[in-house]
């Protein structure tokens, strides 16, 4: 692929990271936060795959391997997040993080 695409990949992953960060900063619903985190995480995964695609040999394979592991990790993380969401919802009756400000100052 040409440099346009190269730029494009970088721009895409950067944009996804920015969107993810933006989501993390603005959303109040825990599940939306999880989604935002996953968007950002996908930016990292995309980076690994993209860099792997333009490397070769062991180095490239390593990149793809990392992507595999990170995908698996991200899914696990979401599961943990959901566990916390459910427990939080049970105790506080809400999953709005703006309502969980008992601990402060």
């Amino acid at each position: 692929m040409t440099s346009l695409a190269e730029i494009g990949f970088v721009a895409l992953s950067s944009a996804l990271l920015a969107i993810g960060l933006f989501g993390i900063l603005t959303r109040r619903n825990f599940i939306l936060l999880l989604i935002a985190i996953e968007i950002a995480m996908n930016a990292a995964i995309l980076n690994f795959i993209y860099f792997a695609a333009f490397s070769s040999g062991t180095a490239g394979l390593t990149g793809q391997a990392i992507a595999v592991v990170v995908i698996g990790f991200a899914a696990t993380e979401v599961a943990v997040g959901l566990g916390i969401v459910l427990a939080l919802n049970r105790v506080k009756g809400t999953i709005n993080v703006a309502r969980a400000t008992e601990l402060k100052l």
């Binding site: 993080v97 969980a100 400000t101 402060k104």
Partner: protein
Amino acid sequence: MVFGVLIGAAEMLSPGSYTNVEYTWLHLAPAPGPFPNGLSLVAGTLVDPISALMLLVVTIVGFAVMLYSIEYMHHDSGLPRYYSELSLFLAAMSGLVISDNLLEFFIFWELVGVCSYFLIGFYYDKPSAASAAKEAFIVTRVGDVMFLLGIFIYFYHYALAGPIGSGGWAANGFVFTRGSQPFLASSVRGSSTLLTVAGIMILGGAAGKSAQFPLHVWLPDAMEGPTTVSALIHAATMVAAGVYLLAVASLFLGFTSFDLLLIVAIGGFTAFFAATMAVVHPDIKRVIAYSTISQLGYMVLAIGAGFAMLGLFHLFTHAFFKALLFLAAGSVIHAIGTQDLFKMGGLRKTMRLTAAAFAIGGLALAGIPPFAGFWSKDDILAAVYSDLGSHPAYWPFFLLAYAAVFLTAYYIFRAWFLAFSGEKPRDPTLPEAHEAPWVMRIPMIILSALAVGGGLLIFWPSFDSLLLYGNGVGGIPPVYGSTEIVLSSVSVLLAGGGILLAWRLWGNGRVFVLAETAAAQSLRRLLLNRYYFKVGYDWIGLNGVYTVARAADFFDRYVIDGTVHGFERTFALLSDRLRRIQSGFVSDYASYVVAGLILVFVLLLLIAPYLVSAWGGI
């Protein structure tokens, strides 16, 4: 004490010096620095003619006062304290006169000061006594501090060039010279600014102790102590120390010509100045106190004019008649319980011996021959006169001192007439007066004898040669030529005139009342208020120093501590503000993370590379 008399007498008989260095309390080995030959501070004894003279004075007067005290003080409480302090006082004074170096001298000097502090404040439950004691200590302390600086100057700047042994004065412990020559080389004298300063400092010390002009205020107030103490302070110990210091300094250290002029000026001026204050005062003890200041002025004058031994001779005679006056006054006070002259009167009838003693003292003080005071005072005036030719600047002070003779005779006999003449006390409420018991009479008799005959010692050859001690520098033999006889006659006439005036105004129970409208009224007020010196000093002390102290305290509490607390508050405020970022809201925390990320980027990509290249690496 008897031992002291013996030493004094022995010395009197065979002039010469005995010294004995016994104790070294600081020794620095020779080393580069201020004292290339090392430094030694020692304590020892030196008994030479002048200390012998002083020892005699101290011990005789001390003995008399002790004896007198047995009766005078017997209904006071705290007698152990009294006698122990009195003994310490005498011991310190004796130590002072036999010190063999300036430092040791200073140590005893201070001890004398503190003992006088205790004794003046003996009636400590009287606020005025406590205050007078404090005042005495602080004022003399001003002098002490100057004296201390004088010592420093001598120690440092004349220690190395000294004539004693190898290694200079410092290495030998600053012991006074043993010859009759002053320690300082003549080339130094009269030229060195530093030496002038040193002399002024020594004079300051002496002025503080001997209550000379600007530092005289404490002495009249020191009358708050028991009369016996006053007698001791005025005659033999405290004030004598100052004069003795000047004498020692002029004999062993030497003064520059400016210093000498200053000493003469202070002495002459004080002699007159103090006498004026005595003229109007109603308190019998204070009148005598002012006379002491005045007489001390004569001694200082003599020393300043270069006749140290004459000054000491006057000290010698003065000690006896002044102690006598005080003891007599004490006897009066003992008998009637007041010190106010205007309440007294007619006491000569009931207190014959006291009246006689006071009269003898008064005559001696006034300088009527053959009483002791005449010989010594006259010697001084004559000697100063003889020096006027070479030092015309002394003239005004000589005249002041001369004029003071008249005032002296006037005020002391004003006191005598007020107290003893007339028919009966002016205040009828006073208790019936009675003659003092024998224990008090004996000292008065002894002192009367000395007041009459003490001056005649000058005709005793051995004593005469004693006065020649330090010949060439510190004393000249008294010469009785025609000039002197004229001078003496005039002074006796002046004194007689004073007595006459006193009799005219106050004799026989008369009371001279100055018209309220008289122009002299303001002068009288000025004199009664002691030229407002004490008021002024108190004002400086209270309003000046104390205000500064208050201001400093304010500064401490509010500015320094305030600054610290300001820091504290700043941090607290910062902490409080920063705390708010901990909003408890997780999205905010995430914002901080992202903001931190950006901060790290800025640091990593923009600031740090710039700084690193600017510093050339870290």
